[in-house]
């Protein structure tokens, strides 16, 4: 079908303008800001000065190390999602209902979920009441108030919320696998483990990779809500993460240039994974314009 030459651009224009305004321009501005510092109200160029300052800031280093610790949730989330998806795929009774409820946490607002969990995990909260009631009071802890337990508790909530997405994703892929593949393996006498290892996992490989990359990006750069609502980075800086650091630097302490430097680093790191994700998409032939 023939369209005039300029026509596509007419249709693309509004979207391109918006994308340039919200992604393009800010990224350029971000890099400039990160290389400047205000002096007497005027921004002056300081090269990598802000970055050097960051790497001497213990709070920033703590934030980075916490983000890295959050990576521990990724194998748990992926593994758990895989197990649950396989169980549902085996059509256990009520699997549709289970799929529906397991997916629900993924949809709920982090602000609300975080607040509810902070009441569950507080010292006089639901979890400790429960432990006391079943005679396991010795296990009661100040889950969000202790420097050693706060981060693992936040990790639990992240897994709680993200796992459902993986379950639904894996299940959707499994249901599009041809049934004969499973039947053939069963006829060949494969037991449950062999079936999973030689049929299920290979069939899911690209989706598992995709979900893993998405989960990595999530814990490195999309966890602001959890931490902001449940702990505000505390106690001390036990749950400080880079996003919260950007927020505090930029909007509490008015250190826009330092905040910009952190954002630029964050963009660099996620950029690597975004590139990876794109490659996975291309390889699995998902979502490409023919």
């Amino acid at each position: 079908m023939q369209y005039r030459k300029h026509e596509p651009w007419l249709y693309l224009a509004p979207a391109l303008v918006m994308l340039l305004a919200v992604f393009g321009y800010p990224v350029v501005r971000l890099i400039i800001l990160s290389l400047q510092r205000p002096k007497g109200g005027v921004p002056i160029f300081v090269g990598l000065g802000n970055y050097q300052l960051l790497f001497r800031d213990d709070v920033f280093l703590q934030a980075v190390s916490n983000n890295l610790k959050l990576l521990l949730t990724v194998p748990v989330t992926v593994g758990l999602a895989l197990v649950l998806a396989v169980f549902l795929f085996e059509r256990i009774k009520g699997w549709r209902l289970y799929r529906m409820t397991l997916f629900l946490p993924y949809l709920l607002p982090i602000a609300a979920v975080g607040l509810v969990f902070s009441y569950i995990f507080q010292l006089s909260g639901v979890l400790n009441d429960f432990l006391n009631a079943v005679g396991a009071g010795a296990l009661a802890q100040d889950w969000l108030g202790s420097t050693t337990l706060a981060l693992p508790t936040v990790m639990f909530v992240i897994i709680w919320k993200e796992v459902g997405f993986g379950v639904v994703l894996f299940l959707a892929r499994l249901m599009s696998v041809e049934e004969e593949l499973f039947d053939a393996a069963r006829v060949d006498g494969a037991n449950w483990w062999q079936l999973q290892r030689h049929v299920t996992v290979p069939q899911l490989a690209t989706v598992i990779e995709f979900f893993t990359v998405i989960s990595i990006i999530t814990v490195l750069s999309w966890v602001f809500g959890y931490v902001f609502v449940m702990t505000s980075g505390g106690p001390g800086n036990a749950t400080m993460v880079t996003e919260l650091y950007v927020y505090l630097m930029g909007f509490r302490y008015n250190q826009m240039n330092l905040a910009a430097a952190v954002s630029a680093l964050l963009l660099l790191v996620t950029g690597v994974f975004i590139f990876l994700e794109l490659r996975l998409r291309e390889r699995s032939d998902l979502g490409l314009v023919s």
Binding site: M1, K5, Y11, L19, A21, P109, L115, I217
Partner: protein, 280 residues
């Protein structure tokens, strides 16, 4: 292996599966259950027992929640942002998707892939420079400013979804319309859009969910008290010294229930839309 033993093993296997799945299902639902039962308890009943069904259900907490913290204003703010950003981004995305799906132009593939990669760029990266710019333009604490940002953030996924959908509409239908003298915009408005209802519904559902739940941008760009959204209001509840937990739970329930109800009725749209980025 004898048949009986195998059957016994199958039975214990399926029992194990049920137990595991039920355990995680209960875990998934517990916060919602806790929200619901606590919102119907008096403070004394809540302190007495945090798990049981409300012994004397009351609705006072909802009145407290509605009265306090400018609840209704925040609810309205969230609704305005959601409707504005979702409607406008949908319109812009459909136009762009038409070009991607139906027209040929140089650099199309590169442009599309570039846009796809924006799907996972964390918003926190753009927040600092956007704030600096918005201050200069006087757009901080305005609906327009935040809607603008939301549109930009929603576009990559929306264009992607609509492009995929437009590509599934048979070429013949479009070509027949062209032969009958339909302009290119006529094809878009009279052929493609009416056929796209399922994709439009899906996109509306997942984008609304995203805007409704969004916290970071709303927190930074809408700081004036009467402009705050519901999620920002909720997020700041914990820091208050005196906390009325049952009333808080009532507020949370009201903020969450629209999503749950929407999900109960349109489950397939949520699933299709949210995993749409990964599996076709």
């Amino acid at each position: 292996m004898s048949g009986a033993r195998r059957r016994a093993q199958d039975l214990s296997g399926s029992l194990l599966r049920q137990v595991v799945v039920i355990f995680f299902t209960v875990l998934s639902l517990f916060p919602l259950y806790f929200m619901l039962v606590s919102s119907l308890k008096s403070k004394a009943d809540y302190l007495e027992n945090k798990f049981n069904l409300p012994p004397h259900p009351i609705l006072d907490n909802f009145l407290t929640a509605f009265a306090g913290e400018k609840f209704l204003i925040r609810f309205a703010n969230s609704a305005i942002l959601t409707v504005g950003a979702v409607a406008l981004s949908l319109l812009i995305a459909c136009l762009a998707a038409y070009a991607f799906a139906r027209m040929q132009f140089p650099g199309k593939r590169t442009l599309f892939n570039l846009m796809l990669s924006l799907m996972v760029v964390p918003p926190v990266v753009m927040v600092v420079p956007l704030f600096v710019t918005m201050v200069r333009l006087g757009l901080v604490n305005t609906y327009q400013g935040v809607i603008l940002i939301y549109i930009g953030l929603l576009l990559p996924f929306s264009v992607y979804m609509m492009t995929n959908f437009f590509q599934t509409i048979p070429r013949e239908i479009v070509e027949a319309a062209r032969i009958d003298g339909c302009s290119s915009f006529g094809v878009f408005i009279r052929i493609l859009m009416p056929l796209s209802a399922p994709a439009v519904i899906t996109l509306t559902v997942v984008n609304s969910l995203w805007v409704w739940n969004e916290l970071l941008i709303a927190l930074i760009f809408l700081q004036r008290d009467e402009m705050k959204t519901l999620m920002v209001g909720i997020a700041s509840m914990r820091s208050r010294i005196y906390v009325d937990i049952p009333a808080t739970m009532a507020g949370l329930l009201v903020a969450t229930i629209p999503i749950v109800v929407l999900y109960l009725f349109g489950q397939r749209y949520f699933i299709r839309g949210l995993i749409g980025g990964a599996v076709k």
